[in-house]
């Protein structure tokens, strides 16, 4: 399934997520843009769910370091949502592996109207 990922040139972690997706069977087009905010607004990512990079797959938005397993479940179930978001840049999420530690995180689903719900929880 083709994924298009948009990131800024200076971000030090977006490439790691691209590699994580490729390692899990996704064909990823890695696009460097001057202003990621433009992409986020076009795809309707709520500001409070923002992370560094933004991607598109099969008409869904993917915000931040969303694990490939969650993306696969999204594509299987095809819920009535605009996309998934992992707000911020939690340590231990794909592309954010770190010897400094891991943080628990929750992947959120959001709709075009800005409704937000929990999609999956990931323990430390």
């Amino acid at each position: 399934m083709p994924v298009t990922s948009y990131r800024s040139a200076s971000c030090g972690c977006c490439k790691g997520w691209v590699q994580h997706m490729r390692a899990n069977g996704f064909a990823v087009r890695d696009v460097v843009v001057a202003d990621v905010g433009v992409v986020k607004r076009r795809l309707g990512v709520p500001a409070r769910l923002a992370s560094c990079h933004t991607a598109e797959v099969a008409g869904f938005a993917l915000e931040g370091h969303v694990p490939a397993a969650d993306v696969k479940r999204l594509l299987q179930k095809r819920p009535q949502v605009a996309g998934l978001a992992l707000p911020g840049m939690p340590l231990g999420s794909p592309g954010m592996e770190s010897a400094y530690g891991k943080e628990a995180f929750t992947v959120m689903a959001f709709t075009r109207t800005g409704a937000i719900s929990s999609f999956s929880q990931h323990a430390k």
């Binding site: 590699q19 390692a23 990621v36 769910l49 840049m89 628990a104």
Partner: protein, 494 residues
């Protein structure tokens, strides 16, 4: 003056109906009344007598409650913020730190010009749980007067301990305090600090360690929206310290301009009238406020600020928040503003320029291991890399490596480059510096600084003379989560 009036109206209209006023419980009062405490909290102020300051800070976990439930705060002498420490230039200072935490801690004397070694501002020493240490040093007779900051600097735990509540403001009395208009002003120290909510849910919304943790409870001296006084007709001297872990404050006082008289390291030469003041973690500012408006109620506001470039991260707070509410009180003879303060001399021509690039990045292993992200896990990092973290010039902090060697007495320009998607406040220990330019634009006035906000994608040139003290010290990001995640370097002064 028409500007203050216009400002008040603009803010008044902008805020109508938003209901942002937080008339909350007094946070600290609740902690004081908590039955779980074994001892009452210590004095709110500790000072020096006859040229000697004999002080004690006990770092401890204190049970109390936050709006939303019970919480454990970290305190000095049962207080957060800890007691206000007040000393004079020229004083002998002995400060005994007792560690009653379950983890090591230590102290940094943020902004003081004292040795980085021995029993002075030595951040490489560590006080184990149950242990104690006596910090001892003498402040120079001509040490600038100012507002300084005592807080833990235990690498890897600094953010947890400061975010948990450990901090004390330190006032050094001296030159600035003797200027008649400043001496006549009524003085209030404001320690600005955000706390996590009792549930800590905000971390799940992305404000974690990579961005630097912020909490939704905005306190001033440990209270939510305290009531404070402006002397009617007189001058109020507000002394502001940002003791937060990561939050950057954008401050405005309704209906009033703030007249800047001092920055981190002491007085500026000419007072500067401001409508807003941006204060990053670790920064301080002294401002004078004239009580010349219609007596009434005016809010100290924290205006929205985006500290993660254009990415939209940390934009959850879009409305101004009330930090404190000022009321006109009493009536004093009209006091004028000072016109000149204390000269800030230009530093000598720099002998060399260094470049420090700050960014978050995947650390490569010590063996130059090429990362395969798909296979990256505990095993990959065990081969030597730290994985994701923050770096200066491609290297994460290592206490056993000297990154920068400078000569005592020399002057250098440091170009601090933020090649990241979020802001980084850069802090240098022991020697104050002057900002020469930001993003290529020269600074309007010389100021003594020890912490400077370098915004995402920005470059700031600072100039520093390494005076008086040799030894090993550090420079780092004062978003303390970033410091703990590697954004720190070691400086050796020979």
């Amino acid at each position: 003056m028409t500007t203050p009036l216009r400002r008040r109206q603009v803010l008044g209209l902008g805020l109508a109906g938003l209901g942002t006023a937080v008339v909350g419980p007094i946070l600290w009062d609740r902690v004081q009344r908590s039955a779980a405490r074994a001892q009452p909290a210590g004095a709110a102020r500790l000072g020096s007598r006859g040229g000697v300051a004999d002080l004690e800070l006990v770092a401890q976990a204190t049970r109390g409650s936050l709006p939303g439930g019970p919480a454990e705060l970290l305190t000095y002498n049962g207080r957060s913020p800890g007691p206000l420490l007040e000393v004079n230039a020229g004083d002998r200072v002995r400060l005994r730190l007792r560690n009653e935490l379950k983890q090591p801690t230590n102290l940094h004397f943020h902004g003081l010009h004292i040795p980085p070694t021995g029993t002075a501002d030595n951040v490489f020493l560590s006080v184990p749980p149950g242990g104690s240490f006596s910090y001892e040093f003498t402040l120079a007779k001509d040490h600038p007067a100012g507002l300084f900051y005592v807080h833990p600097h235990q690498h890897g735990l600094s953010a947890d301990q400061v975010f948990g509540g450990l901090s004390s403001a330190l006032v050094v009395r001296g030159d600035l305090d003797r200027i008649p208009e400043v001496a006549a002003a009524s003085e209030t120290v404001l320690v600005l600090k955000d706390f996590a909510s009792a549930s800590g849910q905000e971390a799940a919304m992305g404000i974690g360690r990579m961005l630097g943790r912020e909490g939704p409870l905005l306190t001033v001296n440990g209270e939510l929206n305290p009531g404070l006084a402006i002397p009617s007709g007189g001058l109020l001297r507000l002394r502001l310290l940002n003791a937060s872990n990561a939050r950057i404050y954008r401050l405005a006082l309704e209906g009033h301009r703030m007249v800047l008289i001092a920055t981190d390291g002491g007085a500026i030469a000419t007072p500067e009238s401001l409508e807003e003041l941006l204060l990053a973690p670790g920064e301080r500012a002294d401002v004078l406020v004239q009580g010349d408006q219609t007596p009434g109620t005016y809010r100290l506001l924290n205006l929205p600020y985006q500290r993660s470039g254009h990415m939209g991260m940390t934009a959850a707070e879009e409305d101004p928040r009330t930090l404190a509410t000022f009321r006109y009180a009493g009536s004093v003879a009209t006091l004028p503003l000072p016109t000149t303060l204390i000269p800030v001399p230009a530093l000598p021509k720099p002998e060399r320029t260094r470049r420090f690039v700050m960014a978050h990045a995947m650390g490569t292993g010590m063996g130059g291991m090429k990362h395969d992200m798909g296979a990256m896990g505990g095993g990959g990092m065990a081969m030597g890399g730290m994985g994701m973290g923050f770096q200066i010039n491609g290297q994460a902090f290592d206490p056993d490596r000297i990154d920068t060697r400078v000569a005592l007495g020399s002057t250098e320009d440091w170009l601090i480059v933020n090649d990241d998607v979020m802001d980084h406040p850069f802090h240098l220990h022991v020697n104050p510096f002057q900002v020469i330019s930001r993003a290529g634009r020269p600074e309007a006035q010389r100021r003594w600084k020890d912490t400077v906000l370098v915004k995402a994608g920005e470059e700031v040139r600072i100039r520093v003379t390494f005076r008086d003290f040799t030894g090993r010290t550090v420079y780092h990001c004062h978003n303390l989560d970033h410091e703990d995640l590697g954004l720190m370097g070691v400086l050796q002064i020979d």
